[in-house]
């Protein structure tokens, strides 16, 4: 069976056509066409078995120069886990200062990723 998909790894957004068969061990991806680079082939094989995505959001900051610090996953996680991870992120409040790369959450709801801060937030009224 032919499946069409878009590789989201880089902005080229290659349109891929994958040949998929249902083997004994589940979905198998046979041939992938249209990828400008090798990553796309690997991506298609992953995408058709278990799609992975990164997500970004923000958490509340107490005592900061701005009220929010943006955060993101440091690894791609299964698409279906995003809702649960977002719920965990929403519960979090941190105190300023926040530095880029600070780990805000470790393995939220068991997902294989950490949530890291993506902006610096200085305390209100000074460094």
């Amino acid at each position: 069976m032919k499946k069409e998909l878009v590789c989201v790894i880089c902005p080229n957004g290659c349109f891929l056509e994958a040949d998929v068969v249902q083997g004994e061990s589940g979905t198998e991806v046979r041939q992938v066409e249209g990828a400008l680079c090798k990553k796309g082939v690997k991506w298609a094989s992953q995408e058709l078995v278990e799609p992975l995505r990164t997500i970004a959001s923000s958490v509340l900051v107490e005592g900061g120069e701005i009220p929010l610090a943006s955060v993101r996953t440091d690894q791609a996680i299964p698409l279906e886990a995003i809702g649960r991870v977002m719920e965990e992120i929403k519960k979090i409040t941190v105190r300023a200062p926040v530095r880029i790369g600070d780990v805000i959450l470790v393995r939220p709801s068991g997902a294989a990723c950490n949530i890291i801060a993506t902006r610096n937030v200085s305390p209100k009224g000074g460094q």
Binding site: V8, C10, R53, T54, S58, R72, I100
Partner: protein, 417 residues
């Protein structure tokens, strides 16, 4: 007593991604007194509110969020000791590179060796202005909604419709969905989306948000707060097809109907504007029609990737520094470049022919299995680049070696079979 007067080497107007990269590059290219003038209270510009990742894949080989990408440049600006004036507004620039600016301390004048224009762009709102119906609360441009949600912790609504399929609109559709809002759909008047294919996938399809092409919002409803919109299908001439109207209940409408380079200052300085890009007409050093005034980033032409903005700004900053230290010879003859069949615009619009150039362009409509071809005054091919897919949402950058430009007195870049 008149305003205070300063003298500077390179003055960069705007502290967003283009301004930051231009300033760093100007300093690295040998200009000692570089200053960035930013009207906001922080550097980084629009990147501060672009918290999704995907920035920096070209530049840093990493998928960074907007604030992280900006911070890499802000760190360099600080390490290099580049002066930054925040909360400072440039009021005017004249054609002898005299800048009038104002800050809390009052008005001041700067005589600049060279100027880099890096003011970015703003969002088009015309789509909503011409809509019939009421003027309720709940209508935002996608970028304003992004600022409210990501920087100010203000949620814009619970049931949203997105008008236009620009990248910011697509990214905000996902953001709203992640925050628990119901996104009813994205309505695009054109028969193809205007955002990048990867955003159609990861912002809409991943979240089950429908994309309606050749469909647009035709009327707003609600008194104090938006209660819904009427959408309708359009024909090839973008005229509403009677009888296809339907009502979509929603409390929020986000507009993602295009970006416009912010060139008021440039115009006042006498910079010639190219109608096809809405930005300055530039040569291959990114110098505008006003000597010593350079332009880069979204104020020059709207980009889809910040990596390309930085690359372009590197170049503008480099040549601005060369100009400021008196190392750039004036030239009087250029090779003009014009868009040919199937190409919406090309940039730069004129080149010296004496150095390698990067030609940026966008095609006029989606196409498959074509080539971008540059031809000289006699129709001889200068370059040819085959493409599997061509899309107006994707800006292309093509490098042309100077050896290929020998004997060329004009160039046309078009799409061929």
């Amino acid at each position: 007593m008149g305003p205070k007067e300063l003298k500077k080497g390179v003055v960069v107007v705007g502290g967003g991604p283009a301004g930051l990269a231009a300033a760093v590059s100007a300093k690295a290219s040998g200009c000692d007194d570089v200053v960035i003038i930013e009207r906001g209270r922080m550097l980084g510009g629009i990147l501060n509110q672009c918290i999704h990742d995907g920035f920096g894949l070209h530049r840093f080989k990493e998928a960074l969020s907007g604030p992280e990408y900006a911070q890499r440049f802000i760190d360099q600006v600080q390490d290099l000791g580049i002066e930054t004036l925040l909360n400072t507004m440039v009021l005017s620039i004249n054609d002898s590179r005299e800048i009038l600016a104002s800050s809390r301390e009052g008005l001041f004048r700067i005589r600049a060796g060279a100027v880099v224009l890096a003011m970015g762009c703003r969002e088009r709102t015309a789509g909503a202005i011409f809509l019939p119906g009421t003027r309720p609360a709940g209508v935002y441009t996608a970028g304003v909604a992004q600022n409210l949600i990501n920087l100010q912790n203000i949620m814009v609504g619970e049931e949203a419709v997105i008008m236009g399929s620009g990248d910011i609109g697509l990214i905000m559709a996902r953001r709203l969905a992640l925050e628990g809002a119901s996104v009813k759909g994205v309505y695009e008047i054109l028969p193809y989306p205007s955002g990048l294919p990867r955003n159609i996938q990861q912002c809409l399809k991943d979240f089950g948000i429908p994309l309606h092409l050749s469909t647009t919002v035709v009327e707003l409803h609600g008194r104090a707060r938006l209660k819904g919109v009427t959408v309708a299908r359009v024909d090839e001439a973008r005229r509403v097809i009677q009888g296809t109207e339907s009502f979509i209940p929603c409390d929020t409408l986000l507009l993602s109907v295009g970006l416009i380079p912010e060139n008021e200052l440039s115009r006042e300085a006498g910079v010639a504007i190219e109608p096809l890009t809405g930005g300055a007409l530039v040569d291959d050093t990114l110098m505008t029609s006003v000597e010593g005034v350079f332009s880069c980033g979204n104020v020059l032409h709207v980009h889809d990737l910040v990596d390309h903005v930085s690359e372009e700004a590197d170049m503008a900053g480099h040549f601005a520094a060369r100009f400021a230290v008196g190392e750039m010879k004036p030239r009087d003859s250029y090779i003009p470049i014009a868009p040919g069949r199937g190409v919406r615009y090309v940039l730069p619009q004129k080149i010296s022919g004496e150095m390698d150039v990067v030609i940026s362009l966008r095609v006029a409509e989606p196409m498959e299995q074509k080539a971008i071809v540059g031809r000289d005054q006699n129709g001889r091919g200068i370059f040819r680049k085959k493409q599997v897919k061509l899309h107006p949402a994707v800006m292309m950058r093509i490098k042309v070696k100077k050896e290929k430009l020998q004997g060329v007195s004009s160039m046309e870049v078009g799409v061929e079979g």
